[in-house]
Symmetry: D2
Subunit: 335 residues, 4 copies
């Protein structure tokens, strides 16, 4: 299967490398980026990508290309989904589809109308640790889920300039966790309540956002989830999930670069956590691309659908409103 | 220092044994219980307690006795606090003081008026694992607390008969965690929001309670706490706390009876958690009594004051109201 | 069952306290020590022990006393075993029975001749972590044992004066591990090979001993054990065992005072290990005494027999000879 | 830097993929294998390798190629080292260089004479967990090493046909651990003593080998190492190292595919270990190749020298002799 990649930034390149090394079913024919330059050419050469272009249309109009990976900036996602769908190409699109719920729906509809597959890049579903918890839940090992706990903390806040345009912590950060909560709960969210504070950097507050947030979610099943986010964990990425249910509890530990510990007179010391996101989620990017290739080549359902792209955006909208109004907000209020 | 114990049930005996073995500053002169019998006599003999009585007054009127341990049923706590205070005796009282906030205040006042020490039996503050996290926080190791997480799950629900009279999950179970949240946060609660479900046993719902609850708490400092409770963890007691702050994160693991693991073809297996509360908190009961002895003998402040007994009751009242009305409730609404 | 304790030093007192608190089948009638003083009297009073004496004969001649706990200095162990046996009393004796193999045999024989029970104080067999590994092995979970690994390291070397008279590291320290190796292997040792070095303190070498030793043991079953000892682990007691077999591997972790960890920018830190032996093995002393009471009261086999006291001494003798001659030594050479 | 790979089997391909993805300083110009076929061609195309040949001479005679990776069968290693050295090319050679100590010396000499770099493929030195322990030791965190412990167990024995020609467990399996012991000890081995048994499969014994072995090693520094090997750990690869020293103890845990655990009524279960060597050591292969590229491109010392290839062979020879003769063997006896 020949594929094209729209967007040659960091994430586009990561997908390209992973396909080259780990996804033999795929062959990258073209990579397109308005800022494509010599360095892009050299990268393409090393990984055997014959075509480099500044125009997405080079990919969209190439009849040989069966699938498109949309790795461009968020504001172009829904546009390229629609164009790719209309061109009859299967689509892998980075998250989120759009901040505008109507646009998200439109993009999903276009893929459906065209009968093409649409997979959203919620890579954490493919993380080895999170997936292992999910598998335990799916396997019935915890029985019926009652409580879901997700901790998700970043090593450093993004630049204030980014905070101002990202839509805020619920859209740019907790959206991963909203997806994870649904994924683990196996049920849809009914109501969301937010507690948020500005404790890391007052400038984040001045930009209208919070940097510390705890959100509780009630699901249709009666299960309750709680997500905590902080923009700044001095010790690095902290990403843990837990599903407690009628028959047991599945829980993972944060990932660390190694297992060594040092026992000293003053205590036992182990290494720091990952401080770079790409190191923390290396394997997850590989696995999601394998899953997309498998879905397209073998005609299977994609593991993260367009609707899976929509719901976290609804939850982010409800969490934002809850914070603003200081009350629980029903998902039905923001649909 | 001679002490008397009111109540010769399980907890009264545990305190008696611990004093005998680990608290040389104390000598138990009398134990009183309306149901005192031969078995009580035999117990007293083994641990060198000279006086056994059916009347609390035997203790309250004995001028040699300097301190009273109130280990009777909850409905008698505030009464005995007041009487002990009036008799000029220092008081250790099991939690909770009372479900009636006015009575709690009255009991605290009486101890204050009499100038006697009053320590409340929130034993978890003395648990080796929780205390270690607290010490890290106090030591400044996590900087300013931002997020506090407490998981507290029991192996089995209490009998329905108990649920009906206990005041519900927030008063009989989460009250420990409300105390722990304040203890770790080093700040007072401002607002509480509850998500609760009946997922373990419908009979609990019929009795007007929930069996699964997630409560978020906003503190004056801006820190946010989340407590999750379940009446039934099939794997045994699960008690973990975490304090995430500006400089780090202190977190403990659940306590287990041993550290052995078994590596097998099908996975690695370690032992079950504690399934009996007394085993889980053995050391904590010893430590709290040592602390009480230290406070009385050496004229120090008690580590868990009467006000520390009041605030968790206020939080339980707010959590109960939040569940009922489906909205965040301010502590000031229930004071 | 009434018991008498010969020796009112640290270990004698620990057994007295444990019996008082945890072993209701036993009642301590007398404690004897040539150095008994006021402090011994006061201790006895607190734990309800009616008789304090300077003479062991007070105990040995008391017809009411059914069992004797020998907690005196090592050089008196075999003598008191023989006298207690002749007096028809069941015996619990601290390890080792004697450094002289002939005396060990004689002591064992005397108990056998008198038909009294003789239990040796290898308390580590009752440690929660080691016992859990043992139980896994007994349960068949690891299949046939192939490799046994024991790490045993002390926080500080004993005084040189002790090293000079103790018989050396194999007799005063590794003897516990020789017992543990047999206990876990379920087979008798055939050959021992020692590697030893003086790396901690040259004074230990000058006293004719080593402070760092690694001993391999071949068992009749073909299983191989390796024990490593160091006189000085700066981080505290380090006691771990592992049994690898045809069907799995049972391994424990070192015991720590609590489970709290601190995640910081510079790494994750957990607490130090135990630095005081009594804290490390608190529970083991209780369990061994419960087992002795159970054996005597219920007519069961004692869990650590006189022969269990002999074999580790043989292994220590072989290990000492191996170190001296730089070759593997068969157990049959030292019997 | 252009490189050629001799040997297109599994390990040759792994190095090719890793270079393509992670080592931008290198460009693979040719791959040679007497069994090169269509599949090899297709592999080469995907990773942009222009030349595929059946003759190693294609690589050795290509003046553009600066470095050679020797990934062919062991019996050809020393031959290709000598030829590559004579052709003036830097050399990365898989371990072991040769079973014949004289040939090892000759190969090393040839590289030295030619002034080319020679790195041996002891990949475990680059494993994240082992490296972390090594770094702690190098950093002085454990002080002077006293005891080194290495557990190394494979999931399944190799075919008997392999056992017959491999030189035995000390040459084909423990050789990695001999290297690791030297690497961690920072000292040379003086004496080796072996305990070995046939406990896994009698056919291994009939082939003249053992399947379970514990080897102790005395180093010049006085440090003592112990290595245990088993041909069959039912739970998968078990690879752990520990360095205990005057100032602390560095120890790692076995690597596992994920950190998830499942708490159930019957115990807590975590996932199995790795069962495929390539999964266990994925990262190590990448790191060793990066280190080789760095050494060649930046004129640094290679991290695993030819002499590092020789010493483990000497240790294997001594361990084999010790097993045969039932006595400790000095390294000087086999040099």
């Amino acid at each position: 299967m020949k594929v094209g990649i729209i967007g040659a930034g960091r994430i586009g390149k990561v997908h390209a490398q992973n396909i080259s090394m780990f996804v033999p079913e795929m062959e990258i024919k073209a990579i397109a980026d308005p800022f494509a330059n010599e360095e892009t050419e050299s990268f393409a050469k090393r990984f055997g990508i014959p075509v480099v272009s500044k125009e997405a249309s080079t990919i969209l109009e190439d009849p040989e290309i069966e699938a498109v990976l949309i790795c461009s900036s968020t504001d172009t996602h829904s546009k390229y989904i629609i164009e790719s769908a209309q061109a009859g190409k299967h689509i892998f699109c980075e998250k989120p589809i759009d901040y505008d719920i109507a646009m998200v729906r439109k993009a999903i509809q276009s893929a459906e109308d065209a009968g093409v597959k649409l997979q959203i890049g919620f890579c954490r579903r493919f993380d080895h640790n999170h997936r292992a918890v999910y598998d335990m839940v799916q396997n019935g090992d915890v029985g019926t889920p009652h409580i879901i706990k997700i901790s998700s903390r970043d090593p450093e806040p993004p630049p204030i300039s980014y905070v101002k345009v990202s839509g805020g912590i619920f859209y740019d950060m907790m959206i991963h966790d909203f997806d994870m909560a649904r994924f683990l709960a196996g049920s849809e969210a009914v109501e969301v309540h937010t507690q948020g504070s500005v404790l890391v950097d007052p400038a984040i507050g001045e930009a209208g956002d919070v940097d510390t947030a705890v959100v509780t979610i009630r699901f249709e099943s009666g299960a309750i989830a709680v997500i905590d986010n902080s923009r700044k964990a001095v010790y690095g990425y902290d990403q843990r999930v837990e599903v407690f249910g009628s028959e047991g509890c599945a829980v993972n530990a944060n990932d660390t670069p190694n297992t060594a510990v040092l026992m000293k007179a003053e205590g036992t010391i182990s290494g720091t956590c990952y401080k770079v996101m790409w190191d923390r989620y290396t394997g997850a990017f590989v696995e999601e691309m394998k899953a997309f290739a498998d879905a397209v080549v073998n005609g299977k359902e994609v593991p993260v659908t367009g609707m899976d792209g929509l719901y976290p955006v609804l939850m982010a909208a409800a969490a934002t409103l809850s914070l603003k109004e200081g009350r629980p907000v029903k998902i039905s209020e923001v649909e």
